[in-house]
């Protein structure tokens, strides 16, 4: 029997698009935590791009931490300015 394989990058894309749709929903929502949730989704999406699209998940050295640190730092300050 032929095994059906799903390209993992296609799965990443599907997740990213799904999370974008969820973020858009939070943007339309009047719920108090919607802004924080939209920023949280951005953190997850950004990390997926860093790891899987940029390919830094398997790269030696500080590069992944540099970009992940940038992402968390910038989103953290935005959350601080926007929500807190």
């Amino acid at each position: 029997m032929n095994r059906i394989t799903i390209d993992s990058t296609l799965l990443v894309l599907a997740l990213l698009l799904g999370l974008t749709l969820a973020g858009y929903g939070f943007g339309q929502s009047a719920w108090g935590g919607a802004s924080l949730a939209a920023l949280g989704l951005a953190l997850v999406k950004g990390q997926m791009v860093i790891d899987r699209f940029m390919g830094l998940a398997r790269v030696a050295g500080p590069w992944r931490w540099a970009l992940s640190g940038w992402l968390a730092f910038v989103l953290g300050l935005i959350a601080l300015a926007s929500v807190v």
Partner: protein, 200 residues
Amino acid sequence: MSASLEAALPATASARREPLPGDLAMWIFICAELAVFGLLLVGYAFARRASPELFAAGQATIDRGAGAIGTVLLLVGSWCVVRAARAIRSGSQAGLERWLLAAIVTGLGFVVFKGFGFAHVFGQGIGLSTNLFYTLFLLLTGFHYAHVLLGLVILTAVLMKARRGGYSAAEHAGVESGASYWHMVDLVWLVLFPLVYLVH
């Protein structure tokens, strides 16, 4: 957890053993670009904190749906670039050219779509000096737009070299560098989109 789902999620710290994709100079450039974008993004957030009514009124005039469509175009383009790099790693020149062309088409889609958005804003008589919201909105999105254009120039240059047979499975650092730049443009938009269009 299935292998494919595990592969899609953010990675753990294990098994980092591959060299940096592309040229070191490009990664230094990417870090410099991210630092500049970081200042702009955080500056926008704190300016909004200082003038929440002004920014809420301004945000109500921009189209969230258009921002979401722009996100989709950039994400699909990034995925095409991933496939292009994968194709040349496995020695497929035709695959490289096909996926690069697809990435350029989606990037052009973003440029045209966002271009109409800018035309709509400017057509209403709104400009950089209208108020602080529009100053920062146009600066931030316009600066990102310029980087999308530069990314398209880079991808087009890579495609032209690919068509001359300039890349192989053994030598494709230029493809990886161009791909990394394009992903950086995508990464910045993933922060910009919720900040400007969604957070309220």
